[in-house]
Homo-oligomer: 308 residues x 2
């Protein structure tokens, strides 16, 4: 049975994400798997690199518990890994308590600092007197409540059943429709086939000449490739040097995507492919190869003397 590492401990949003990825077995080719929590994103990825695990599920955008920048750095450094699936989870927080605890009994509330920050306004209104403390994860907060070290925890819905707690209040996030995106990554191998609505992600190192990033984006724009995300990250150990994380609609098997990537390869210092996989959002279809195919046929006819 394949073994999948995820950012633990049990009951985190990342466990919820990996469960959803496995339920959609066509996306992953991993119908059943053993789920094993990892201490950090870096540890989860390194366990895949070493072969100890077959895949890892990690947050990549807008995460509650993981530092997403650490995920990006961990994917860009070290032996190559590629994403084969993504999923998105609404950031939903519940206030969990031991059974029988009422709101007026809550003197202390605990969670990961990022989670506390995302329910700050709700707490100000509904539990203004409760003292706040920090844990390393939302699950650790649930454990603290179960063990009587705090009265209430801010957690993912999954944590209630996992740790035998009651829901004092549900859906308390200040921003109602925030979403976190997760990737399932493996060692390089067969790329999942195009579905017509895919996303591709790469890391690019350009020279620091003026206009070098504009040139990269022009290569995409000229071929009708729609960017969905861009982020520059300082290259570790050399402040001032940057690499760019780019997500865009389309699949590496498509002609217009492939031609854009080949162009980057020609004029960038480094291009690392981080995967093509089905999109989890309603962001619309991949761009079309139709015009590229027609133009290639036209060129072939010209070259063979069949037309002018």
């Amino acid at each position: 049975m394949p073994r999948i590492a995820y950012l633990g401990p049990e009951g985190t949003f990342t466990e919820q994400a990996v469960c959803r990825l496995l339920a959609d077995s066509t996306a992953t080719g991993l119908n059943t798997a053993e789920l094993i929590p990892a201490e950090s994103v870096a540890a989860a990825l390194d366990a895949v690199r070493s072969g100890e695990r077959d895949a890892a599920c990690v947050p990549i955008e807008n995460s509650v518990e993981g530092s997403v920048t650490s995920t990006m750095d961990a994917l860009a450094d070290g032996a190559p890994l590629v994403a084969v699936a993504e999923t998105m989870l609404p950031v939903r927080f519940d206030i969990l308590v031991r059974e029988g605890t009422r709101a007026e009994d809550v003197r202390t509330i605990t969670s990961h600092p990022h989670a506390l920050a995302q329910v700050r306004r709700w707490l100000e209104v509904h539990l203004p007197g409760a003292a706040q403390s920090a844990t390393t994860s939302t699950s650790a907060a649930a454990v603290a409540v179960r063990d009587g070290q705090a009265d209430a925890a801010v957690c993912s819905p999954l944590a209630a059943e996992r740790y035998g707690l009651s829901v004092l209040a549900g859906q308390v996030a200040d921003i109602e429709d925030a979403v976190t995106r997760f990737l399932l990554v493996r060692r390089p191998g067969a790329v999942p086939p195009p579905t017509g609505a895919d996303r591709t992600t790469v890391v690019v190192v350009t020279g620091d000449a003026i206009g070098s990033l504009a040139r990269v984006l022009n290569e995409f724009a000229l071929r009708g490739v729609n960017l969905t995300r861009i982020e520059s990250r300082p290259i570790k150990g050399s402040f001032g040097e940057y690499r760019f994380f780019l997500d865009f609609a389309g699949h590496v098997a498509q002609a217009h995507v492939g031609e854009a990537l080949a162009a980057l390869r020609r004029h960038c210092q480094d291009v690392r492919f981080l995967g093509s996989f089905p999109r989890a959002d309603e962001g619309g279809p991949s761009g079309s190869d139709e015009a590229f195919t027609a133009a290639a046929e036209w060129l072939a006819e010209i070259r063979s003397g069949g037309r002018a």
Copy 2:
């Protein structure tokens, strides 16, 4: 006396940053000031917006304790604020203990999760047996050690004197030359004058048409403006819509920078100016206006009939 909010509590890297900014009084116009810790980046900025504080010091890039993405969102939303100065601090961690504690006595070690992550390899080698726990800040870890709740803390160098602790080991960060950047922000007012080596920062919302970001970057590239950072952030409450945080060399008072910003204003949905201020790094001078000035003079002569 002006009052400056910073991401607290006392002894954090942000306090160290604001002390450095005040020492360089020409950069800030704030020779002496009262420093008041704030609970979060958002709280620090809101205190400036409301007039309760005169300025705030917050981490903006590569931070250890603050979530930097939360700083960016807090600057882009709400009433406008502008940065008037920046400073950079090396990310230096020391292991702090109560006086007399030896390495072999350390059974428990505590800090902010981001700080523990950045000394992970050092701890594996030097304190492999110590149990780790999390606090909300590196300063809270120093307090925990002082109060006997843990044997060692991973802290900024400032925390040792602040909390009366001893240095068991200095400079233990896994990456030696990591740097965090901080901004000093105020309510909009006079822009600091150009120094010849400045940075300007803006937030831009483009339409989601293919090539809209490439068009933005081309406006910079065509005028010789050198980007130093770019990041897309989802706009809160509408996943899939993005705004772009752009840092670049130069000052809004310069012709080539002003012309580029005016071009963005013409074809972007929104452009928010977040400040022009002296660069804290050795990133080189602002671009030159020389060619712009000569061309403007030439055009004026043409228009007046003075030449052709």
